[in-house]
Subunit: 215 residues, 2 copies
């Protein structure tokens, strides 16, 4: 059985472990070590062992971890066995990319509906995803049992979209709008900033530059 | 002056602090506290103080941190004063969204070129970004001083795209392909998995479910 409380920092690393483990399994590896997982996940081996211990999983000395068992345990902790239907709000390029992202469905997050203000899109279907008016959001969420709302609108429409999602009963929001939205305390918003990783690359590039004056 | 070595985990949080500080400045706040920054960045206040101390920045007791000074220090540490031109490889919906993402330019990562295998796109311009054949990548990288390559191709084309970027002299790659690409040791690849945050939301949703059998 999974143990009780899992720290948030560990939760944030579980998807990374799951991806690494899935790769190892795909490569035909049946066992692995905390060193290998650490390398794949970009953390240190002690942290891997600690993280996995929260799942009640410990490697065997001299053998390591059983990959398939670990995939099962991490998946279970992440609730991958469950399916959480998603609505994508805003069908610009990013919204279309998200609505069409097979990686979501594969991981238990099927995009079952989209909303957009464009009358030319409402009533149509984008890559098999039906497009509705934002006015119908509450109805669509209830009909389809939608659990998660994705905000892919321009920044200026993000707060209004969040308000509509909350009014429709959504309690989990993924926000790609690069703005901060206000929601009630019982609603969880996770923001994805596509620039974050670029800024980390930029930090390392800068460190490789010669210091000013050293020409 | 910024101090010497900054731990990787701190580097990863600097973009989050910068975004939070920019919001505070936009709201007209001239000073802030580690508590406020901790809340905005989703970490604890002790970690904020420790992270900022690596930049040589310490708050003033009873006053806190000067927001504009901190924006300057974090920006400098991140190399935001520098500009790192970007090429986007693959112009599906995601590639177009990235090529068109004003947040990149705002943060010093202008998308100056794109490559795609579609003959119908080569030679055209998408949102002002010229589209080239992948065969011309080395030439385009050299001509425009491109520092970072973004992989937005389907997974099946990701490794070939990475190989082309490396052959063109690129040493920093941002990979949106949901696959793992192999590159030489002196090339840094950062992978963005759009599902990671959804999986964290899913973890919390699952925790809110009644335990099995408890109906």
């Amino acid at each position: 059985m999974a143990t009780g409380h899992i720290p948030e920092a560990t939760v944030a690393r579980l998807p990374v472990y799951l991806r690494s483990l899935t790769e190892l399994a795909g490569d035909g590896q049946s066992t692995t070590s905390s060193d290998v997982l650490a390398e794949l996940a970009g953390v240190n081996a002690a942290k891997v062992r600690k993280d996995l211990s929260y799942l009640g999983t410990h490697g065997t000395r001299g053998v390591g971890y059983d990959v398939r068992h670990l995939v099962f345990e991490v998946s279970r902790a992440l609730g991958v066995a469950n399916t959480w239907p998603v609505v994508v709000c805003g069908l610009g390029n990013l919204g279309r990319a998200l609505a069409n992202h097979t990686g979501f469905t594969d991981r238990g997050f099927p995009v079952v509906a989209a909303v957009d203000v464009d009358p030319g899109l409402i009533g149509s279907s984008i890559d098999g995803v039906p497009v509705h008016s934002p006015d119908r959001l509450a109805e669509v969420v209830a009909d389809l049992g939608i659990a998660i709302g994705v905000i892919a609108t321009p920044g200026g429409a993000a707060q209004e979209t969040a308000d509509r999602l909350v009014a429709a009963g959504i309690r989990s929001i993924l926000d790609f709008s690069s703005t901060v939205v206000s929601v009630p305390d019982d609603v969880e918003v996770r923001a994805v900033d596509l620039s974050t990783e670029l800024q980390i690359l930029g930090f390392h590039l800068q460190r490789d530059l010669p210091p000013p004056g050293d020409v």
